[in-house]
Subunit: 232 residues, 2 copies
């Protein structure tokens, strides 16, 4: 999140027209397209994030929560602390208890993304560039720009900019192609006017964004609905 | 935390001799000195953090957890997800339920510091530069270098460097003088050889450290025991 005093825009309804960014075109998907089946991994957006300016200068905001199921069960971002009951209930509706989550990825350490880590004390925990199993932290090469491979289909990719140690999760082989669970690499589909104010390093962030647009077919952003990427 | 591939040192036993850093001298306090009574605020270190290299290249690490009691009840850092039961039990021993915590401060978004935010869904949540009440985020001036005042005795001060939006909590009026709950601004008392490798911006971090050494009488670091600051 990190709103500081900057603006924040929402793309809740997916009604924006297609956005061109150089040789890429980003197209909002429909509000109901929250599931991306695939083999061996499928994704499901449990909660689409939002960021809504209020009239009193505050913002109501929450980060997108995404579940990846397949050979491993992976939760990407956990919302804010207020999402605790929602998250437990939604996982239960999918037949899952917290202990069934093998890996929790916090794309970055903002409170609307890492609000519920404590629900998953037995999961491998990846928050930004830190990878831990209980209190044992394992060295890795994320800070050197190398993806952390969960398996041949799923990897955690460094995507700094919004924060200095931000990561995203790339899933190959879905029916929609390669899906990137982006975290706040992208706020929403049409975030050209807002992402810079929420970025800790816009130059680094831009590089990360361009790399995502080159490789992902669908992007699940941190504060909006999923969108498709078309490359000319 | 963020160990990447860098070293990490522990100062668990407080046996290091005094450390000089320019005109400052830092002196470890005894292992048993974890309480700092005062009026109107007192502090209690519920768990001293640690960072212990293992023979297999991993690290065992946890962030310091500090309770501040007085007109408001404030928890600074929440450990890692594995600390959930310990934290609940320890608060209970002090006669506190999670709902009694008015403010939770996550000094920064690393997993060994923000592991248990979900225990406190009713608290005002300050994680790095983000201040929220439920999902309502309030603008503030932390990114502009201005402290966020909880009251005339307690303030959240920006202390960037370890991460770009790192904060510390300053408490005036204790029997030990001004106490700074530093987070990872300081790893431990004798961290001269280690803090830079764990820092995202050493130049900015050094400025933050010097400011802390100028103003605090006692510093509670993120991965070690509290220590005293003596100024020549």
């Amino acid at each position: 999140m990190h709103n500081g005093t900057g603006p924040c825009y929402a793309d809740m309804m997916g009604t924006d027209s297609e956005v061109f960014s150089g040789q890429f075109q980003t197209v909002p998907l429909s509000e109901s397209q929250l599931d991306f089946p695939g083999k061996p991994y499928s994704l499901s957006v449990l909660k689409a994030g939002y960021c809504l300016p209020q009239t009193d200068g505050t913002f109501r905001a929450d980060g997108t929560i995404t579940l990846i199921t397949g050979p491993r069960t992976i939760l990407v971002d956990t919302g804010g602390p207020w999402d605790r009951d929602f998250l437990l209930k939604t996982l239960k509706e999918k037949g899952l208890e917290p202990r069934d989550i093998n890996v929790v990825v916090g794309t970055h350490g903002h409170s609307d993304h890492v609000g519920n880590l404590s629900l998953f004390p037995t999961a491998v925990m990846i928050v930004g560039y830190d990878i831990s199993d209980g209190d044992t932290y394992r060295p890795n090469q994320l800070a050197e720009g190398h993806a952390y491979t969960i398996d041949e289909h799923v990897s955690v990719v460094p995507s700094p900019g919004h924060t200095g140690q931000h990561v995203s999760v790339q899933v190959a082989g879905t029916s929609a192609g390669t899906v990137l669970v982006a975290g706040d690499l992208f706020e929403c589909c049409s975030d050209e006017d807002s992402w810079r104010d929420l970025s800790m390093n816009t130059a680094v962030h831009e590089v990360s964004r361009q790399e995502a647009l080159r490789t992902a077919d669908v992007i699940i952003p941190g504060h909006g609905l999923p969108f498709r990427v078309l490359r000319s």
